[in-house]
Symmetry: C2
Subunit: 703 residues, 2 copies
């Protein structure tokens, strides 16, 4: 995948999981009785006397006191607020968050990627504090939170939602504050609705209260912004803006506000590195029928950027202005007040409530951003770039797999050292710009933790008696990669081979699909899940995601999609990544990037063309994990064709790079599987038996 | 199918198809120039001088004059209205409409099932009149409309939507009237929103203005209401009401208003015949935590009904009251005013605006009706009843197919005579209560008209040189049936066999699916469409629909479903009906009813069970239409298993009924297809050749 995205993107939903109001408690949920811990334990024990707090926990007593002072009275607003919500996100609702934006982690100490904190203020310096997070972070939370915090274990029974808890804590009336720059429109509206019945007001605090108490908050990123040439983007920013204006005309929009970092980067053919793993920079954009303004840290407007954007002009369709990042809200207010601007297009899914609330309802067009769709359909230059990046990425990956076959039996490889070595191999490839997400390098039971990421505490050896799963990807100037293969360096069990084969069959089924223009992902899921279902097995994550051209590793479309960006569009790239996870034992995932292209069909109903998937990731599947007798003939033919394509595409690149040993390894590992090995039809063995019987009978007679 | 439902149910959507405002015209749309017709033509010609109106058209001049008088001033409301919308539906948003409710057909003369009329009033006795309908009824409309009417050909370019036309006709301001008892909540809200910008008010006229001018309007149906015993329903109405109350408690609803006729009939285990084909009666119901009231024509409360409902009680959980049909709105108003009733549950999809508007927003629970879900999951008695009904139905169907093989070459069978004979055969089966929808009996090109229904004008002979499609079903006391088979009584072309086989492969693929509890239909479509797609072919209708237990032939779930009633629920019945339509040539559809049941899987992930489809329709597929070399082994095995099940289930019933000739026909037509015929894998023939070669060599040697 990596699969993290599926859970991350579900945070909004998890937020509203129903549950019963919780009784009050100190530190832990009272209905989950806890065993008393001895001092020295790694987890806190808030029920012990005295309470036990490990050294890994953050002392938040003073921070909370200062935060509550700000809630009680502030120069930024009149009156007091009774509760303050601290989300995990940034002002662009990004998946990866810069350190400067990790306010929830700062205030609570809990550094997991998902989670929301709420602090109440009883008006006399006291109150409660709670963190909602999901099962990935329960252990970590108990190591990092002190006893000022209640841990709300989302997904467990009787755990209240944030709004249920707020109602039970606040009773009726009062104000709940939140930074409107950090919540989506949908989240705000859901919160507001849930609180209305209790006559609690949701209040957009016009200043972040955590920032006030964050003395050593990191400064803004100084990472440079740089242009990406036409040889990578395939389309000038001028042409992109002109395309955007066309869509605006179709929707009768006079202005478009872009808030997603990757959308702004894509539109202007600029990249940066203000957040981890995604080559983007903090920015907004507003496009009108005759202006285009890029809002960013103006210190980052280097000569390169100035010349790329041809700054200095004052009017004209291709004239861009730059403005300071923090003037965006003022600019939106000005648009809202401008009588010549009738309709302002804001992206329904990715805009914060702060931006949304500046636009009066009569002027709103709330719809998916046009850039989201345009970005997902890659032009021919981007298509070739992504394919090329995947060829070089496959070189590194094959090198790694070959190395593992040697090194693992030696006993020196761990999840972390393996992932580090793979990163090193990738970094030697041309145009490498970094990892596209933290590598999931998982041995044995760790592979069954879908969102696993090795740490010093969990690091396991990669051995000859475990299944090993490696899900990783790189950023290259010409494309982003994301690939998963699962291997065994000893003797896999029959069950491991059976489940691996079911997962592989799912991937192949998906690649064999032919579908209509405009088909949404939701219709295309079952084929990949069917082999597992038919065995009474399943996996709980999404089937795959779109991926950027040297941009975010996760973007639309998704296979769960029912609207917005369809999978059925030529030039769309999407990962196909079925898996199977046996809790406490092993995990299997096979992730192969696909490009949507025209299918070669015998007929063309009403002159129509149909679509199918072409593999872009070219890394072999491990033969010893495959039970060939489970594959039908079409699946086997696909597999042989795929391995032939791997040989023919990656082979020459390996030779070009002078990696003869890897070339030999690749040739050995992409041999066609012979049809004679297939026994699924039953016909062949029966025939063979007949053949032998006849031959024997015949030899008896002829003697 | 019959497929009609798909278009019928889309009427709301078609209503809002975008188009450009139309210029004014007289009778026909001005941008579709028409050839001048000579008098005697079957279609009107409003551009001729004098205008040509066929005798089949209705003279609506006087009716429209009187209607406009009612729009200008009425005792039912103050002021005038400038336009009046006349929908095709009834107060229960039914699929099949009683004659008494066919107001649009009455006022315009156009009797097609789909279509909406709008009449404007210029204040001085004049105005315009227009009918929107889809391509099925374009010809019919031009035969039945006089030149007072503009025909709005939905789906053609530049045809305005109703609201676009209203805005262009009325300009700004004014009132558009509609009977709020005849429009859904969704339709009302969409209309209202579309008219708001032009400051046109949508006005719910509290009396139907067409009824005022309909002098010879048929009276209310006198058809009896009768109880359906436990041997058919499997659950008493008392238990059903108690289940409903449980769901109400879960949703915190104090009252539930049921407006769908089949929901009311199901809940009280009563049936009737007030509308064609559906065994329902005009009624509403309101259930509260301690009362249950059935609103119907009290003349229909016979002794049987009285005793079935144990009327006469005054209180108690199982005490039902009956009230007059037309007191429903008053009763809803009373609920709305009752301070002990906090929340009233109304079905979001199937309630009219008239009912909805009586409930203040603060009291509304707008959600799918709980009865819709309960009804779709059949209990064991209903399951067995549906299976038994399909066995007897298959007897009639097999008898018919055998008869056709003899009669068609004789040249005496037409679409209509064939369908009539099939109806006769069905009527001889036990517990037969009528057809479940008008039979689609279609020969040659008529089969490609998806919503075809033979009429005197279109009736074709069933011949040995045409493909014949028969889609029909019956109502039986123990279940409703709906089955389609496609046949050829001469020599089908290779293309006909190829497309038939693709459709069959789609059906088989669907039956082979294994899926999760709670899966919605949308995820399960692709498998059935995939074989056609892979050949560059497709069909444009839904894959299938739920079906009632001696109730409506169309009910939830649908394969297009994304929410509401899932397909993935044990005991759900749904048709699987892929098709292929070659315009002007032939149509293929294979419709087989399926029951959702637990799948037999090797494993059970986390203790879960998975689901699959079991065939309920047991009628053979025609061997000569199948290209066996296109089937893979799994598909062939399924087909042989299916035919074995047909033999073993329908065979004994044929013997029991003494139909030995049909029994012989069935045995002949359900022979297993031998594996040796399969050549798709290539393995078998190669093996056979080897076998022969060896045998020959061997015999040479042994001599």
């Amino acid at each position: 995948m990596h699969s993290a995205v599926i859970l991350l993107l579900c945070t909004g939903a998890i937020f509203f999981v129903r549950g019963e109001p919780v009784s009050e408690g100190d530190g832990v949920h009272p209905r989950s009785p806890r065993v008393k811990r001895a001092p020295g334990d790694t987890e806190r024990d808030c029920t012990a006397t005295p309470q036990y707090i490990p050294t890994t926990a953050k002392d938040t007593t003073d921070l909370l006191r200062r935060l509550r002072e700000g809630m009680q009275s502030s120069s930024h607003f009149a009156g007091s607020i009774q509760a303050y919500i601290i989300p995990a996100g940034d002002a662009h609702l990004s998946e990866y968050i810069s350190e400067r934006d990790q306010r929830r982690a700062f205030i609570s100490g809990m550094s997991g990627s998902a989670g929301t904190a709420v602090v109440t203020n009883d008006g006399s310096g006291g109150g409660k504090a709670a963190v909602w997070t999901d099962s990935r972070y329960f252990l970590q939370a108990d190591q990092q939170l002190d006893c000022n915090w209640i841990l709300m274990r989302q997904g467990e029974e009787d755990v209240p939602t944030i709004e249920e808890w707020l109602v039970s804590e606040l009773g009726t009336g009062g104000r709940v504050g939140v930074d409107p720059q950090l919540v989506s429109i949908k989240l705000w509206e859901a919160l507001e609705e849930a609180l209305t019945d209790a006559r609690i007001r949701l209040f957009g605090v016009p200043h972040n209260l955590v920032d006030d108490v964050w003395d050593d908050r990191p400064g803004p990123s100084q990472a440079p912004v740089f242009p990406l040439g036409l040889e990578y983007t395939g389309k000038s920013w001028e042409d992109k803006i002109s395309d955007v204006r066309e869509k605006m005309t179709e929707e009768n929009a006079d202005a478009l506000v872009l808030t997603k970092l990757d959308e702004v980067a894509w539109l202007f053919n600029l990249r940066g590195s203000d957040v981890p793993f995604n080559p983007v920079f903090f920015a907004y954009a507003i496009v009108t029928t005759d202006t285009a303004v890029l809002y960013l840290d103006t210190n980052k407007v280097t000569d390169d950027v100035t010349s790329h954007l041809r700054l200095g002009c004052t009017t004209g369709a291709s004239c861009v202005q730059v403005a300071a990042y923090d003037t965006l809200l003022t600019a939106v207010e000005a648009l809202a007040a401008d009588s010549t601007i009738r309709k302002i297009w804001i992206s329904s899914a990715s805009t914060t409530y702060a931006v949304f609330s500046k636009v009066p309802e009569s002027k709103q067009i709330l719809d998916a951003s046009p850039v989201m769709k345009m970005k997902s359909k890659k032009n021919s230059v981007e298509q070739q770039g992504l394919k090329n990046a995947h060829i070089r990425d496959a070189v590194a990956k094959c090198e790694y797999l070959m190395w593992l076959e040697d090194a693992v039996p030696g006993g020196s490889v761990t999840e972390i050292s393996g992932a580090d070595y793979l990163q090193q191999l990738r970094s030697r490839q041309r145009d490498y710009m970094g990892l596209s997400f933290p590598s999931i390098s998982a041995s044995g039971p760790n592979g069954a933790v879908v969102h696993y990421r090795p740490s010093a505490e969990t690091n396991r050896a990669v051995t000859t008696s475990d299944v090993y799963l490696i899900d990783s990807g790189g950023q290259y100037r010409d494309g982003t990669t994301d690939v998963t293969r699962t291997l065994h360096f000893g003797q896999p069990t029959d069950y491991q081979r059976e489940t691996y084969t079911l997962v592989l069959m799912g991937a192949i089924n998906e690649f064999l699909q032919v579908f209509k223009q405009g088909t949404f992902g939701i219709r295309l899921q079952q084929a990949a899940r069917a082999p597992l279902f038919s065995y009474g097995l399943e996996f709980g994550h999404g089937l795959g995601h779109g991926l950027g051209s040297f941009l975010n590793v996760h973007e639309d479309p998704y296979f769960r999609g029912t609207e917005g960006v369809p999978v059925g569009e030529e030039g769309t790239f999407i990962t196909i990544e079925p898996g199977y996870y046996e809790d406490g034992q092993f995990g299997i995932r096979l992730e192969t990037l696909a490009m949507v292209k025209e299918a070669d069909t015998k007929y063309h109903y009403n002159g129509r063309t149909y679509l199918t998937f072409e593999p872009v990731t070219l890394v072999p599947f491990q033969e010893k994990m495959i039970k060939f007798d489970m594959l039908n003939e079409k699946q086997l033919t696909w597999l042989n064709d795929y391995h032939r394509q791997v040989r023919e595409t990656i082979g020459p690149e390996l030779q070009r790079q002078g990696k003869d040993d890897v070339y030999d390894w690749l040739m050995k590992n992409t041999q066609p599987f012979e049809t004679s090995r297939i026994t699924s039809s039953g016909a062949q063995p029966v025939a063979s038996v007949f053949f032998i019987v006849i031959a024997v009978v015949c030899s008896i007679f002829s003697t």
